[in-house]
């Protein structure tokens, strides 16, 4: 990824040349929330002073001092806030349903007194699913927000904000697929420093997670459903379309009527595919906020990788990206399952001490409520560190030296490949599931890396690898055994 990440990882590898202490490498702790608070967490961040700031569905924004374990109210009355950008200890930019709002304590009494409209230059029909996500800032000072499409499960209100375009809705009943009848539902928008909100990219369904990397690349998760065969992570670039047709009506100069009436082939040729697919029921059913591990080792050996929340089970997912032929693609793997973690893992934030805080939410779907934190206990996990595409298969790097007889046994690497359909139906079954034999395994001298040669390697598939019992050199079991790599393109070099 970048140099410091590499340095941290090399440091880890050196530290790992002695047998690690046995025991759980990560510990999940509950954070008590105030009595009377329905702690459906919409946003979670840390302030410069080290306090946590959290927004809740009923409109409260509260701060939490981890040292004193004390909660305090900062602001109230917001409409389903789902994102916070921290400007200072006194100023937050809050993404709520009607607008992006500057919430600021200007008189120093500890509670907000200014609620200033930063931008409301988008429509709302009052449909319950018009959640707004972000804002995420890049190094140039641009902010990205994402606007959920409206749900076919609910109506538009009779009074809306914004110009109505019925072409953004499907069919006669208008009641089958998620829709975009006011600007710019289903878009990712960019706010420039002159305060103008610009269209950035279209084709989103329920993009409940944005993150910007150190090189200003924007990544966005979306949720499985109509037009989304399985939940994706997209690398989002200006002007591109990511698959859900409804939002296309707000493309500048759009003159092609209802995008739902375009031939499937046309839509398919217009879309940009996910950098990473989260296979449904295997890795994640409802991925949420991605965060980069920038803790410089405080959270373990996965610096520079992404951690992504999952709503539907007690899980945090880990994503490793690489550029192949100039495009991001990569793999996803469970990071942590159970250990007391709840469901509904909606918001993630790294604390200054390197622990990962998780805010939970259900919002009428499957989930839980509350706040927990995941602490790295200092014991190196036995896990896959990275999975990388090679010209003949994959290279798997482990966090520790692995036992050589198990690590070189091809039967310990069960590959299957499949893809998901792009269509208007809700989700997709796996297509053309096929087992792919491993024809050769080579283990590196340090016993940390295996090169796997596959009988067949083709683009357009997800390669799911299920590992057998490969213990570490010190006989500790591998924590996670299923990893899925999305091959959009093969290495041409």
């Amino acid at each position: 990824m970048n140099r410091y990440v590499l340095t941290v990882f090399l440091g880890w590898m050196m530290a790992c040349s002695v047998p690690p202490e046995a025991g759980e490498p990560y510990v999940v702790e509950d954070i008590a929330t105030p009595e009377g608070l329905v702690s459906q967490v919409g946003a979670l961040e840390f302030l410069p002073d080290g306090k946590l700031v959290a927004a809740f569905t009923r409109g409260e924004i509260m701060t939490y001092d981890p040292a004193a374990r004390r909660w305090e109210l900062f602001a109230e009355g917001l409409h389903d806030p789902l994102g916070i950008h921290v400007v200072s200890n006194d100023e937050l930019w809050v993404m709520q349903l009607p607008e992006l709002t500057r919430v600021k304590d200007t008189d120093g009494d500890g509670t907000a007194d200014l609620y200033e409209n930063i931008t409301d230059a988008f429509g709302i029909t009052g449909n319950y699913h018009e959640f707004n996500y972000g804002p995420e800032r890049d190094s140039k000072g641009n902010f990205y927000i994402a606007l959920n499409a409206s749900s076919s499960g609910g109506p538009m209100r009779k009074e809306v904000r914004g110009r109505v375009n019925p072409d953004g809705r499907d069919g006669e009943t208008g009641n089958r697929q998620m829709y975009s009848t006011v600007p710019y539902r289903g878009w990712v928008m960019r706010l420039t420093d002159d305060g103008i909100l610009h269209r950035f990219a279209s084709g989103f369904r329920s993009p409940n997670g944005l993150v910007v990397d150190d090189e200003d690349n924007l990544f966005v998760t979306d949720n499985q459903g109509d037009w989304v065969g399985t939940s994706p992570l997209f690398h989002v670039e200006e002007g591109k379309f990511y698959g859900h047709p409804a939002s296309l009506v707000w493309t500048e100069g759009w003159s092609r009527g209802s995008p739902f009436h375009l031939p499937l082939d046309t839509l398919d040729s217009m879309r940009t595919r996910p950098a990473v697919c989260f296979p449904h029921g295997i890795i994640a059913n409802s991925p949420t906020q991605p965060v980069f591990d920038r803790t410089r080792g405080k959270f373990g050996p996965f610096g520079g990788q992404l951690f992504v929340g999952e709503m539907n089970r007690e899980r945090i997912v880990r994503v490793m990206l690489e550029k192949v032929n100039g495009k991001f693609q990569g793999a996803c793997i469970p990071f942590l399952d159970g250990l007391g973690l709840r469901k509904g893992n909606n918001r993630l934030a790294f604390a200054p001490d390197g622990s990962l805080w998780v805010g939970q939410n259900a919002h009428g779907w499957l989930g839980d409520v509350g706040i927990q934190r995941i602490v790295f206990a200092g014991r190196t996990p036995v896990d896959i560190h990275t999975m990388s595409l090679t010209s003949e298969g994959f290279k798997i790097t482990f966090t520790q030296p692995m036992q050589d007889t198990a690590a070189t046994n091809p039967r310990n690497y069960q590959f299957s490949r499949y893809y998901y359909l792009y269509h208007s139906q809700y989700g997709s079954p796996q297509q053309e599931v096929e087992t792919i034999p491993v024809i050769a395994v080579t283990l590196s001298k340090d016993q940390r890396t295996v090169n796997l040669q596959l009988a067949s390697l083709e683009s357009g598939y997800i390669y799911e690898l299920n590992l057998g019992d490969i213990p570490s050199k010190w006989k500790q079991p591998l924590r996670n055994k299923t990893i899925c790599y999305t091959v959009n393109t093969l290495r041409t070099e």
């Binding site: 608070l37 009923r58 009355g77 349903l97 709002t101 319950y128 499960g153 904000r161």
Partner: protein, 361 residues
């Protein structure tokens, strides 16, 4: 399984006291006391037991109608109710209990004021076992859920699809909306009928409340009463709106009321609000001219005072009203001509408009 009238329970207790019971039967049972609430509701709408646990369920019919209680296999409540409905004329003789293997245990029809006790061992299989009264007309409202699980966990009450919808909230008395008790003035941004989706609802002292619309930048309506009921809005996915609790005494028919220099307002821009002693002062612009509006209650229970500032204005301003908005307008400055208040540039910099609920003639 045994059904005991209250009398036999006493005998059973006596026998236990005498030590003449077997160890298996003497094992303490989890006791659930089930009363009947007005409105065809079981007092315990759900409870949790462990697989195989011995349960003592006491139905105290504290209602004025007959009720039974059937525990069914998971997912079969509606089917059992439907079958009970089809018993027709044979229903009374059967105690409204259909003949089906979906029913695991039955407390037969129990008359008002009577009690019956059911003792059983919970199923070994974890699951959500419904219980229901199949007396005619009761089955679709009078039910609950027995959670059989070793963890004893149950979903949040508000999200439990296995209990009647009206029971998915805690009673008003024990309900807390927030970790603090809001004291007027306070506000919510909500979806509410009669405004755009960018509405702001504000509770003021003296039981007055108003809805100022950030989507249109004007006061839409005002009411007196207990502010809002957000139960539906906050429940589940929020496919609902906030409900006004009280009587609406003002509703705008004018639309955006301010015109500057006799022009029809062009671009109206919402800028935000600032709390002034906890009262929001709204800030918006009409064709680039800043307008500030702060709304207070008055000592009268059904009137509002709207304090406007237009600091930079150098042209005359008009404030328009319509008859039939439910209020009588008065102003601190300017001249009324019919329903329009005319203000000089000087007067426009700071003026107040009072809206008092009109007497119904």
């Amino acid at each position: 399984m045994r059904i005991l009238e209250r009398q036999s329970v006493i005998i059973w207790g006596l026998a236990m006291a005498l030590g003449g019971w077997t160890a298996e039967q003497a094992e303490p049972a989890k006791t659930v006391e089930m009363n009947v609430l007005p409105g065809l509701q079981f007092s315990e709408v759900r409870f949790a037991v462990k697989p195989g646990e011995k349960v003592r369920l006491v139905l105290n019919n504290t209602d004025d109608m007959n009720h039974n209680l059937l525990i069914t296999r998971p997912g079969t409540r509606e089917r059992v109710v439907e079958m009970a409905g089809k018993l027709g004329e044979s229903g009374p003789a059967a105690g409204y209990v259909p003949n089906t293997a979906d029913i695991l245990w039955t407390i037969p029809l129990t008359a008002p004021g009577r009690s019956r006790t059911l003792i059983f061992n919970a199923p070994d299989e974890e699951g959500i076992y419904p219980y229901v009264c199949t007396y005619p007309g009761h089955g679709n409202v009078m039910f609950g859920a027995m959670y059989v699980s070793s963890s004893g966990e149950m979903p949040e009450l508000s999200e439990d699809k296995h209990i009647p919808e009206i029971r998915r909230q805690h009673s008003m008395a024990e309900r807390r909306d927030h970790p603090y008790t809001p004291v007027a003035p306070y506000h919510y941004r909500v979806f509410i009928d009669g405004a755009s989706p960018a509405a702001i609802a504000v509770a003021l002292p003296n039981d007055i409340a108003y809805c100022w619309d950030a989507g249109t930048c004007y006061l839409r309506f005002a009411w007196h009463g207990a502010f809002l009921d957000n139960t539906d809005l906050w429940k589940g996915k929020g496919n609902a709106e906030s409900k006004v609790v009280g009587d609406i005494f003002f509703r705008s028919e004018t639309g955006f009321p301010i015109s500057v220099a006799n022009k029809t307002p062009g671009e109206i821009v919402y800028k935000g609000y600032r709390m002034k002693n906890r009262y929001p002062e709204f800030h918006y612009q009409v064709d680039g001219i800043d307008i500030f509006e702060l709304i207070h209650e008055t000592p009268e229970r059904t009137s509002l005072i709207r304090m406007f500032r237009i600091p930079e204005v150098s042209v005359p301003v008009e404030f328009r009203t319509s008859p039939g908005e439910g209020v009588v307008y008065s102003a601190s400055a300017g001249v009324w001509k019919e329903n329009v208040l005319h203000l000089s540039p000087q007067e426009s910099r700071s003026f107040a408009i009072t809206m008092m609920k009109a007497d119904k003639k």
